[in-house]
């Protein structure tokens, strides 16, 4: 497909403006003026519409295909949430920040505050900041709050503990904040090895970061004990909420003993993902950590008015402009209201049932390194297929040809040739069955005609990409004409 610049025809226009009837004066200094016109593509409106429509037809997205990308919770994003977000499109984000501006923005501030209250109820926490713009940003916010809490207590802490199944952003966030990472291996029962954890725990540990259920899709039965041990060493428990979709209405991190958590609204709460829209990673804390939350803190007075609290000396400061990605917060708020308590409980139940259905349907075809009842996702290994020279990557590429977005592969790192499948609750049994059939077909091909998998995809606009070369010879600039 041609780039939009290659479609450019000199002089072609999408809009014709009348000639200016004012004298051409300029108050800008000469050295700031352009000497050559900007090299923008010149196209008609129809050229442009066709260009982007055709591009969008090549997109492989949740709106076009089943997307069981493990750990990412690629559920359907209901269209009504777009309408709700659109209701707020006319508000200028500066208004609430102006002196007295809160009185003009009670509705928007109310959405943020009431969303926080609902998230507290779902997670068993006491207060939320909606500022962080993604899960990883929430983790960094969380670790900054943890560091500030320890500083205020005069604690000297050096380490953050993570299990070896953790998402890379966990150790990365802690390491960016200056902590040394202690990694605990996973025991054969699929969770952080409890004995090794106890050995690693000491008074210099600032925090333990856990995902529960973890990235193998397993719920750690020792989570309460782990929290108690950490607290006995004056360490805080951090909960990575990426997998909250498994437990809504069933278990709450706050009740398990966690002190601070982040949520990924773009996962659990059905807001767009990645290129589909900005993310949002609110952080929720227990009472003792409230003073350290980012500023400005949003409060509700006894007469029901919302206000932005002025600077608080213990706060870690601002983590984002304005109040976070407000449009995403509005969508998540509408999603929760729309489903209600019973709806959210059914979301988690259905997500878990779907994952277990996939797991039991495919376990004769792929190795299952941790064969336990799973929560909302399950992790297979292509180790068996590797004996025929077929990698998880080849199976992923084959799935694209068959109309399915590949599951997450090569994560979690502890599973060789990992294939991590998260169907979510929004898929029907017939979609799951179609996916299962193609996964079986891939396993059979791997056993009998492995070469057939190595060339895929063959039906896509581009064939197998050279991922190694793309990573080794990074070219991120496109020189303009």
């Amino acid at each position: 497909m041609e780039l939009i610049f290659e479609k450019s025809v000199a002089g072609r226009r999408g809009v014709s403006l009348p000639d200016a009837d004012l004298p051409r004066t300029t108050e800008l200094p000469e050295n700031l003026l352009r000497r050559k016109a900007a090299p923008l593509p010149e196209l008609s409106e129809l050229d442009l519409v066709r260009h982007f429509t055709n591009l969008s037809r090549r997109n492989f997205s949740i709106d076009t295909n089943f997307y069981p990308l493990g750990s990412c919770t690629m559920k359907y994003n209901p269209r009504i949430l777009e309408d709700v977000a659109g209701l707020f499109a006319g508000f200028h984000p500066m208004i609430a920040q102006l002196p007295g501006g809160e009185s003009y923005t009670q509705g928007t501030l109310g959405v943020i505050h009431e969303l926080g209250a609902l998230l507290c109820e779902i997670t068993g926490m006491d207060e939320v900041t909606a500022q962080p713009l993604a899960g990883a940003h929430g983790e960094m916010t969380g670790i900054m709050i943890i560091a500030a809490w320890h500083r205020a207590r005069g604690n000297k802490k050096r380490f953050v503990i993570v299990p070896d199944s953790s998402h890379g952003t966990n150790p990365a966030s802690a390491s960016m904040m200056g902590y040394e990472i202690v990694t605990i291996p996973t025991a054969p029962y699929g969770d952080m090895d409890l004995d090794l954890f106890k050995k690693a725990m000491n008074s210099e540990v600032a925090a333990v970061m856990m995902t529960c259920p973890n990235t193998l899709g397993l719920f750690n039965p020792h989570v309460r004990e782990i929290c108690a041990i950490a607290h006995a060493h004056d360490a805080l428990m951090y909960y990575d909420g990426a997998n909250l979709n498994a437990i809504m209405g069933k278990a709450r991190p706050g009740d398990m003993g966690f002190d601070i958590i982040h949520l990924n609204l773009h996962k659990t709460f059905a807001t767009p993902h990645g290129g589909g829209g900005p993310g949002s990673g609110p952080v929720a804390v227990k009472k003792g950590l409230i003073p350290f939350l980012p500023a400005p803190r949003l409060t509700k007075s006894s007469d029901g008015n919302y206000a932005l609290e002025p600077h608080n000396p213990l706060s870690i400061g601002r983590m984002a402009g304005f109040y976070g990605n407000f449009g995403i917060l509005a969508r998540a708020y509408a999603y929760i209201i729309m489903l209600g308590r019973e709806g959210l409980i059914r979301v988690s139940e259905q997500a878990v049932v779907n994952a277990n259905y996939l797991k039991s349907s495919l376990k004769d075809y792929y190795d299952l390194p941790y064969d336990l009842p799973c929560m909302h996702e399950c992790v297979f290994s292509a180790a068996r297929q590797l004996q025929q020279g077929v990698h998880a990557l080849d199976i992923a590429k084959f799935l694209i040809d068959r109309g399915f977005h590949p599951p997450t592969i090569y994560f979690p790192l502890i599973v060789k040739e990992a294939i991590m499948i998260e169907p979510t609750e929004t898929e029907s049994k017939s979609t799951l069955d179609a996916f299962i059939a193609v996964m079986k077909e891939a396993a059979e091909l791997a056993a009998k005609h492995p070469e057939a998998l190595l060339q895929s995809p063959e039906k896509m606009p581009v064939a197998r990409l050279d991922e190694t070369r793309a990573a080794r010879e990074i070219k991120v600039c496109c020189p303009l004409l």
């Binding site: 390194p369 090569y410 994560f411 060789k416 190694t468």
Partner: protein, 124 residues
């Protein structure tokens, strides 16, 4: 000259008080095509089994651990522009760094080739 291995799949070739460190062929096969190597800083003190540097492949980013304690004296700068050398010759030209060994007693915690091969056979 002595060649020893870690459970995390690093090797160290020891000559007197200096050692050259790299990743084993087994480790590199698991990682797949290497796309980026973070080289440690020359002069840095490293402790045995603590993070020396990191490496990225098409599949994952992983830490590399120091087989022995010491001070980094040289790094293999060719890896900066040609990380594929590690795929081609992990246990030769694909070496990562040289160190001046400060605690040779740490050798007791390392494996000789036969022990390492035995260890590999036990892995899933």
């Amino acid at each position: 000259m002595e060649l020893l291995y870690t459970r995390e799949h690093e090797w160290i070739k020891i000559d007197g008080t200096t050692g050259v460190i790299g990743l084993t062929e087994y480790a590199v096969r698991q990682l797949g095509d290497i796309t980026f190597v973070e080289l440690p800083e020359v002069g840095r003190e490293v402790r045995q089994f603590q993070i020396l540097s990191s490496i990225e492949s098409v599949k994952a980013a992983s830490d590399i651990y120091a087989p022995l304690s010491g001070r980094v004296t040289t790094v293999n700068e060719a890896l900066d522009t040609h990380p594929e050398i590690i795929n081609e010759d992990a246990e030769g030209n694909g070496w990562l760094a040289g160190i001046e060994i400060s605690e040779p007693a740490g050798k007791k915690a390392l494996m000789i080739r036969e022990e390492y091969d035995e260890y590999l056979r036990g892995l899933p």
